[in-house]
């Protein structure tokens, strides 16, 4: 199997000597949904940024689709969603989704068609001309997801995308994200604090521990697809959640995520 992401011997030390990541090795296959979970300071967001070539590793290499991370970034292989939707307030919803397409030089006609498709996908048709501040937090995050997927990136990088949402909205967004993931067939790397979210979404969970940031366990999630409300009541769901929780506790100081 060809790995979409191949992380080999990656370490990251920040100025001042903080070791954010130490000797990380990880392969992610095409179509996988991989969650990075761990206590604050375990370097999960840093790892996500190293994969996306937003920061350089101190040692080691990241290969994406056989290319360097930098080349992959220049080839528009990454769609990124942060905890804040990071929408451009002066642009309408449609123009926010179209921004990466604009920058990649798509024609207006092709852009409009794709934007319509993407807004269908995240169920925001009819909101094209709204401005971000007119939308709820959940809707804003759906715009950000539509924008990240609009150019069909090889890899979707998500940094606690639902961390700022209330529990109900979060569960609904989880289900929607799974639907989008199944439809688009993209590969996802997902940073989260929430055990339930990680188990519900992932095909594989990477448990990390802090000081220095390293991978303490990798837990494959064998829950059947497609997943839905029933998944959350599956006894296997609870077994896996317990397994993740225990792995987190073994991995360092007690700083238990919700």
């Amino acid at each position: 199997m060809n790995a979409v992401v191949d992380i080999a011997g990656v370490s990251k030390e920040f100025k001042g000597g903080t070791v954010a990541l130490q000797d990380i090795d990880l392969q992610i296959e095409q179509g996988e949904f991989v969650s990075l979970i761990g206590p604050s300071g375990c370097g999960k967001s840093t790892l996500l940024r190293v994969i996306g070539d937003l920061i350089d590793p101190s040692r080691g290499t990241v290969t994406v689709n056989g290319k360097s991370a930098r080349q992959a970034r220049h080839d528009h292989d990454y769609g990124i969603v942060f905890q804040d939707a990071v929408l451009y307030n002066w642009r309408s919803v449609a123009k926010n989704v179209a921004l990466p397409l604009e920058l990649a030089g798509w024609s207006r006609e092709r852009r409009q068609k794709r934007v319509a498709e993407m807004l269908d996908l995240v169920e925001l048709r009819g909101f094209e001309d709204h401005h971000p501040w007119q939308l709820s937090g959940g809707m804003q995050q759906r715009v950000a997801i539509a924008r990240a997927l609009s150019f069909e990136p090889a890899l979707l990088l998500m940094d606690e995308p639902f961390g700022a949402l209330d529990e109900m909205t979060r569960e609904r967004m989880n289900a929607e994200l799974l639907g989008i993931w199944e439809q688009s067939g993209s590969t996802v790397v997902f940073v989260t604090h929430s055990i339930a979210e990680a188990v519900f979404l992932s095909t594989r969970i990477v448990v990390m521990s802090a000081r220095p940031g390293r991978i303490s366990r990798v837990i494959p999630v064998d829950l059947p697809q497609p997943r839905g409300t029933a998944t959350r009541e599956d006894p296997r769901f609870f077994e896996l959640a317990t397994e993740v929780r225990e792995a987190l506790h073994l991995g360092g100081p007690l700083e238990v995520p919700a």
Binding site: G52, R73, F82, N89, W90, R91, H131, W133
Partner: protein
């Protein structure tokens, strides 16, 4: 549309009532208490002075407004250009920002007599100079703040799109800085009028408002002096409103508080 217009008119009604009440009260009190005209002339006396000297007043108002506008343009353009350079090169910012912030807090208007000495006091250039210096600092400081207030994640997102610095500037930094810029421009429009008029107090052409106000007040022509102040208000408020209108056009995407005068 008509209903919206109707509602806008209704919003303004209370303020209009207050204005009429104040003028009425002013007129009544001045008459009833026999206030000396050098202390406060009655509105109807100011109004007749206004009517009798209209062409002179508008001429002087326009003269002063041209000085203010010229200084505003020079000061704002200089402030914006330097702000862009400072936001781009940190070292320049470290060198200049402390002085700019300090200068923003001192009464620069105190320099008005000096600019009169540097330039011909009868010429518009000396008043443009003081107005320009007054406008420069708030614009400079605010635009630097605006250009720097871009969220790090917005930059990360742009980096993930692999676009150059110029595109980031155009697509992210400029739109982020626009509300900061217009806040500064509104302040600057007021400062420019103050700078021009105060500059004229220290010596200016008799074509100008400030020199006329000074002369009429010393010649006991208080009604005329007040009429000139009214003209200064008309130009000042008009200038401020024009900047506000430009702001609404340039930042149509912003949510707006529908309060009068902001």
């Amino acid at each position: 549309m008509t209903t919206r217009l109707g509602r806008r008119t209704l919003d303004w009604l209370p303020a209009l009532v207050v204005l009429v009440a104040i003028i009425g009260l002013w007129e009544g009190l001045v008459k009833a208490l026999h206030v000396q005209r050098f202390l406060l002339p009655a509105p109807d006396a100011i109004w007749s002075a206004f009517r009798d000297n209209q062409s002179l007043l508008w001429h002087a108002g326009l003269w002063t407004f041209e000085e203010a506008l010229g200084g505003f343009a020079i000061g704002c353009v200089a402030g914006i250009v330097l702000a862009v350079l400072v936001a781009r090169w940190d070292l320049l910012g470290h060198a200049l920002m402390p002085y700019a912030v300090a200068a923003n807090a001192v009464p620069i208007i105190a320099f008005a007599p000096i600019t009169n000495a540097w330039f011909n006091p009868l010429d518009k250039s000396s008043k443009m100079a003081i107005a320009a210096v007054l406008c420069f600092f708030p614009v400079f400081v605010n635009v630097v703040r605006g250009l720097r207030s871009v969220k790090p994640q917005q930059l990360e997102l742009m980096r993930s799109y692999a676009v150059g610095e110029l595109a980031v500037f155009r697509l992210v930094r400029v739109p982020t800085a626009l509300p900061f810029l217009f806040t500064a421009l509104r302040v600057a429009s007021v400062l420019a009028m103050i700078g021009a008029i105060v500059g004229e107090y220290y010596g200016g052409s008799l074509d100008s408002l400030g020199a006329n106000i000074l002369q009429d007040a010393s010649l006991f022509q208080f009604e005329r002096a007040w009429a000139e102040i009214v003209i200064a208000c008309i130009f000042g408020i008009g200038f401020y409103l024009a900047v506000g209108a430009a702001e609404r056009l340039a930042t149509r995407w912003q949510p707006r508080m529908e309060t009068a005068g902001s």
